[in-house]
């Protein structure tokens, strides 16, 4: 039975059959799929993609995605303590922000450090112009960014992305961790910067 429903979303190669003797719940109802997803999300400690979840559940990715989205909406509507978010490469449970004061009271260390303005501005330039060299970022900010860039690199918020053919400078781009840090699921979530920029032909030769 079970494998009767062919699924266009599934990656090539048939999913493995359940392990010997293992009894998998059929997940035919939405409530079951929902429960199974909750169980998976409870054990992951980094964002996990809907493709990985779909493969673990042996379900079409589309159905999994729909269920995740419905689950997220339900949690929000009901003011649940868990906030299901798509961040970086995938889905993860977070505590809902309104309950942050209670979480901070319970946890050992509460508040976490925020990024400085220099770090945020440098990240802003890298995010919109990646891959980009350090000297290009310095030119936009009007200050040297060597120290900040080194720290962002060490913190895993930016990473190297090859060498600029023209200037031989190292190119940088933002990382998954950067997206997670800002709670974004992809760079596409960033607002377009064009409306903010001057309508002058080209300030320099790098397209935005």
């Amino acid at each position: 039975m079970s494998d009767a429903a062919p699924d266009p979303d599934q990656r090539p190669g048939t999913p493995e059959p359940p392990a010997e003797g293992e009894t998998l719940a059929p997940l035919s109802t939405d409530a079951e799929l929902q429960g199974a997803l909750e169980a998976l999300l409870l054990v992951v400690d980094s964002p996990v993609g809907e493709d990985v979840l779909a493969s673990a559940l042996d379900q079409p990715m589309e159905r999994v995605l729909e269920t995740l989205q419905r689950l997220r909406a339900d949690y929000t509507d009901e003011g649940r303590g868990m906030d299901l978010r798509r961040v970086g490469e995938g889905w993860r449970f977070y505590t809902r922000d309104v309950y942050a004061p209670f979480v901070e009271r319970l946890l050992l260390d509460g508040q976490r450090a925020k990024l400085t303005r220099a770090a945020l501005e440098t990240l802003a330039v890298v995010a919109y112009r990646q891959p980009v060299t350090r000297s290009r970022v310095a030119a936009v900010r009007g200050v040297n960014v060597d120290g900040v860039m080194r720290t962002l690199l060490a913190r895993g918020l930016v990473e190297e992305a090859g060498i600029d053919a023209e200037t031989q400078g190292v190119l940088y781009r933002t990382t998954e961790l950067f997206l997670e840090r800002l709670g974004l699921s992809s760079l596409d979530d960033l607002p377009p910067i064009a409306p903010l920029l001057p309508d002058i032909d080209s300030i320099d030769d790098v397209p935005l």
Binding site: R117, A124, G142, E180, G183, I193
Partner: protein, 277 residues
């Protein structure tokens, strides 16, 4: 001119349209310009640039002897453009009469463009700060797997080599000082703008004209170059030198207009177009 006497004076507007400027820490010339412009509650226009030119120079001078001199080159480029624009009276409204004016207009446009560009990224940075603040209020679930599943975990990989691991450790251990503008890692020795002005005064009075490149050729470090540029600004203010720069960010030529017997500054018209050879 509405010279700022005390950039950190506690009060805001003090009578008769005279501004007392109170600035946050700023980083770089664009940041300073934007802050000055917003102090006047103006938009980024050439009028605004006109209004803040003197304040900008004042800040630059105040910082001159104590600033992280490695990072002032950009300040100087901006200062030079502002002074050129002001001297040429292209501000606030431009009447283009000759090629020199045209070059200045280009320089102005470039300055505007860079300023607006910086402002755009600054706005993005503010958005990032908001996003981060929101994200920091949501605590991710990060809990060890239940005992019954522990044996199922695949072999763990660190994903980094020893050198990278050490870098990560260094990043974590690095002392985290309170937020401040990075004035603390000053390492340049102090240089006297005054001494450099005297030096340049003597040299230019004798030679008549030189490129900035030549004027700083004997400088041992960036600090001296900066001091020399600030000294030139002083001389410019006195009206004894003129600047000439054909291309934006191109070679900057300095001409002596103060006559032979230096020492007595001749308060001439800075925009006078005299010919010295």
């Amino acid at each position: 001119m509405t010279v700022v006497q005390d950039p950190v004076a506690p009060d805001g507007v003090a009578g008769s349209g005279r501004f007392t400027v109170r600035l946050d820490n700023f980083e770089g010339p664009f940041d300073l310009l934007l802050q000055l412009i917003s102090q006047h509650q103006m938009d980024v226009t050439d009028v605004a640039l006109h209004r803040v030119t003197d304040e900008f120079i004042t800040h630059l001078r105040l910082l001159g002897d104590s600033f992280d001199l490695d990072e002032t080159t950009e300040f100087l480029v901006v200062a030079a453009t502002l002074l050129d624009l002001k001297a040429a009276r292209l501000l606030p409204s431009a009447e283009v009469e000759n090629e020199e004016d045209l070059a200045l207009l280009e320089a102005r446009d470039l300055l505007f463009a860079r300023l607006l560009q910086y402002r755009a990224y600054k706005q993005v940075a503010a958005l990032f700060a908001e996003l981060e603040a929101g994200a920091l209020r949501r605590y991710p679930r990060s809990v060890a797997v239940e005992d019954r599943f522990a044996d199922l975990l695949p072999e763990v990989m660190l994903g980094v080599d020893a050198a990278r691991f050490a870098e990560i450790a260094a990043a974590v251990f690095r002392p985290k000082p309170p937020p401040s503008i990075s004035l603390e890692h000053l390492h340049s020795s102090r240089v006297s703008v005054h001494e450099h002005a005297a030096l340049l005064r003597a040299w230019l009075a004798r030679q008549g004209e030189a490129s900035f490149r030549v004027l700083v050729a004997d400088c041992a470090h960036t600090g001296e170059i900066v001091a020399r540029f600030l000294a030139l600004l002083d001389l410019y203010r006195e009206g004894v030198v003129l600047f000439d720069q054909t291309d934006p960010l191109g070679e900057l030529f300095v001409r002596w207009t103060g006559g032979a017997g230096s020492g007595h500054p001749a308060p001439g018209d800075p925009s006078a177009d005299e010919d010295y050879g």
